[in-house]
Amino acid sequence: MKILVCISHVPDTTSKINFTDENTVFDSQGVQYVINPNDEFGLTRAMWFKEKQSAIIEVINVGGVSTEPTLRKALAIGADKAIRIDSEPIDGLFVAKEIAEHIKSNNYDLIIAGRESIDYNGGMVPGLIAGLLQINFITNCTKLDIENNTATIEREIDGGKEILSCSLPLIIGGQKGLVEESDLRIPNMRGIMQARQKPLEVIPPSNSNSKTKSIKFYKPEPRKEVKLISSDNLDQLIDLLHNEAKVL
């Protein structure tokens, strides 16, 4: 089984978000970048398929040279090969088209992406790839098993879950549950050394088009000071929620 894991290079979850160039560009100064958490759950599940079912794992990212440390980390975790499509991403469609072009000329049985990236939160790349390639697609995946070319998947639905099955090839949008937080792997020294020898192929973009653009960013208005209510006066809290906030 050949697996492709789509890796988004995103600011760490603890990052303070700022913008530059008159609020048109994300300010990466001092920001630590990581593998998008939803992608990392998928990569870790892919490692299970590698170890238990001899799968081969390739990882892919659309981005400039600055994203290579994130791909190297994926290699250090255990991916066999990395591919970087050498272009700054414009929107979700652009990224999906670039990755879909690569998939067309390489046969993958399973493509794993995150349900969304934690930076632009478009939540569309795996679905767009599925639409472009006309392959099966399931998102919000919290469990994934593959036997005899058939995938069995648990999907989170609003207020519950659903068990689905379909044949490969398949693309999923993964999230926590695929593996637990405690299953995530911190690359060890051996993995890091090995990662240096593994192939990281840089391929030129196929110049896909985009349809949307972020033209300006801004941060939420600063909040008003919290109103503190004495724990002996909970009636006041109910009164404020009812009469002032009007939410009760």
């Binding site: 979850t13 603890t14 958490p37 939803n38 469609l93 999906a96 934690i118 930076d119 939160n121 478009g122 939540g123 569309m124 795996p126 679905g127 767009l128 599925a130 639409g131 697609f137 399931i138 998102t139 069995t152 989170e156 639905i157 609003d158 519950g160 879950k161 068990i163 689905l164 099955s165 379909c166 044949s167 926590k176 549950g177 637990e180 937080e181 985009s210 349809k211 949307t212 653009k213 972020s214 033209i215 300006k216 960013f217 939420p220 909040r223 008003k224 919290v226 109103k227 503190l228 004495s230 724990s231 909970l234 009636d235 809290l237 109910i238 404020l240 929620l241 906030a245 939410v247 009760l248």
Partner: protein, 317 residues
Amino acid sequence: MSVLAYIESSKGKVKKNAFEIVSYSSELAKKLDTDLVALVLNCNDISELSKYGASKILKVTSSELENFNAKSYANIIAQAAKISNSNHIVLSSSLDTKYLAPLLSIELDAGYLSNVVELPSSLSPFTVKRTSFTNKAFSDSTIDSEFKIIGLSSNAFGLLENNVESSVEDFNPSLIEEKITIKSTEKISGKISIADADIVVSAGRGLKGPENWNIIEELAETLGAATACSKPVSDMGWRPHSEHVGQTGKPVATNLYIAIGISGAIQHLAGINSSKIKVVINNDPEAPFFKAADYGVVGDAFDVVPRLTEKLKAFKA
């Protein structure tokens, strides 16, 4: 040219988020100087849609569409957009609809923006405000294509009454072959899901153990609220992942969010930023959550929560 609003339903009834979708779409149609068409699937009770401006309703009834299937549903919405000559399509932010949206965008060759929070600030170029960086920021984003899909963030626009006469037209789309089999569906019965809730009661490590969640559940039940939790609590297995709120969990955009024994890590606060009113109950006055909340009570959860529940019961009675 029309605006098409896709209305979700469950067991023959429109979902609660439908009224916000219709309210938004109706205002969008006014801005574009065109009409609104609402598409409903397997839904009998559609009378309330006219209250929010759905002047034309396309009604699909098919036993083969009983279960949600992203590809089939996307295909039907695309057919509806074409027959109603709609090039603006408005969708909700439910998990099902976010699942089908990218498939629809490929079918229609449409630009798609999710997490939109306002009506367009400009029609040319078509510009809307959306959340990004998991609610830590907003962006003004444009859609350049002829077909446009707008995914509206839950509770971002609210309801706007606009009584109209609705005309209902039956619509029989062609159906595509489904390649994904649903083996089972499990809904937690008797509980309100976070997506449908107006109020969410959420708790963290301050509760000390899963056996103490009864006070949280009782408060939630009194308020008709959904329950949620912080990341450590879901990682430790005290509560299911589906309750985990935050950057890698669920976003919560509700009217009232009550956080009990949650310190307020930046990732958690990002996840709840779109909620309107936030209340924090925590015994540590230095907890970062107090900086993000509207109302705060410094106190021990085991003392404050049961008393608050009793007082709310009296208030509701």
